[in-house]
């Protein structure tokens, strides 16, 4: 469990993924990459950690990842093999929203 704060840098325990928190709600969030909890700061991954086979969708550098409600937003700064999940919900690449009609 981690309290996410904008600007916080996190890395995956099981792949090369690195990200920065852009937006986050208050409180503890169980943020996982490749099935394992993500690490902040200088935390070291357990040596036998591996990407879970059902959590191997991968991350893409420069993409922003968000939950369905768009409460959490993360920027991937280094790509990896694991998928991102927050409190059990898979995070997806944020897509541009159509602008509302102006007339």
């Amino acid at each position: 469990m981690t309290v996410l704060k904008p600007g916080l840098k996190l890395k995956s325990a099981v792949c090369d993924t690195q990200l920065i928190v852009i937006r986050a709600p208050g409180g503890d969030i169980d943020l996982r990459c490749g099935g394992a909890a993500m690490l902040a700061g200088d935390a070291v991954a357990p040596p036998d950690a591996a990407v879970a086979s059902d959590q191997a969708g991968g991350t893409l550098v420069g993409k922003r990842y968000t939950d369905a409600a768009e409460k959490i937003e993360l920027l991937c700064t280094k790509a990896g093999k694991g998928s991102l999940m927050a409190d059990g919900e898979a995070l997806a690449i944020k897509t541009a929203k159509a602008l509302p009609s102006s007339d």
Partner: protein, 228 residues
């Protein structure tokens, strides 16, 4: 998020791509990162409170922007077209200053004790630090301080924080969206917001940033002649 994160991402993914050129020389993204780190260390050692640039666009401009962020100081580029007394008054407002300048702009000035002056060429010659520097994690820290033109009184200082600039870039630019052979020809001066956002946008897009060969004080008319 800090503006140096934009550069670090580009240097990680496209280390060998051309980041900036002045027509004769180039810096790759890895080279720009190294130059910014080296500049950041030199700026930190100077004891200055601001990093200022009094110059036309050159390789030194992006190095100064990112170097200031590594030094964790505001970057305050100045309008070299102002009168001598106006430039001196602005420099006083950013003293103690680390001032990067072309000699044609700094030679006529009388500078106070708190100004560390360095030429635009000498600024690019530092050795990188033994341990990499990091930018601040505080998005409220000031990244850039721009002065308004002063047409309605004393120039006012407009504050742009790391969070402001990175939010703008993330919302407006797709990472790595530039083709490897794509370049942005920048004709706006480095002290204008368009000159700042051009550097940041080009970095995040992974394209090349070309500073135009404008050297006249009457840059606008000169530029039109060159491009005609």
């Amino acid at each position: 998020m800090n503006i140096v994160t934009l550069l670090e991402m580009a240097a990680e993914v496209f280390p060998d791509r051309i980041a900036v050129t002045d027509g004769a020389r180039t810096l790759s993204y890895a080279g720009l990162l190294q130059a910014a780190q080296a500049a950041g260390q030199a700026i930190r050692a100077s004891g200055a409170g601001y990093v200022s640039l009094l110059d036309i666009g050159s390789l030194a401009a992006p190095v100064a922007l990112y170097g200031a962020a590594y030094a964790r100081l505001p970057y305050a580029p100045l309008n070299y077209r102002l009168a001598k007394a106006e430039i001196e008054a602005l420099i006083e407002r950013v003293t103690p200053a680390y001032l990067i300048a072309g000699s044609e702009f700094s030679d006529p000035l009388t500078l106070g004790d708190g100004v560390s002056l360095i030429g635009r060429e000498a600024f690019l010659t530092f050795d990188p630090p033994a341990e990499p520097l990091s930018g601040s994690d505080e998005p409220r820290d000031v990244a850039v301080q721009l002065f308004t033109s002063g047409t309605t009184g004393q120039p006012k200082a407009a504050i742009l924080r790391h969070g402001n600039l990175t939010a703008y870039i993330l919302g407006a630019v797709e990472f790595g969206s530039a083709e490897e052979d794509e370049a942005t020809l920048v004709s706006v001066p480095p002290y204008h917001i368009a000159g700042i956002s051009a550097v940041l946008s080009s970095t995040y897009a992974g394209g090349a940033w070309c500073c135009s060969a404008i050297s006249s004080r009457r840059a606008g008319s000169n530029w039109r002649r060159r491009s005609a």
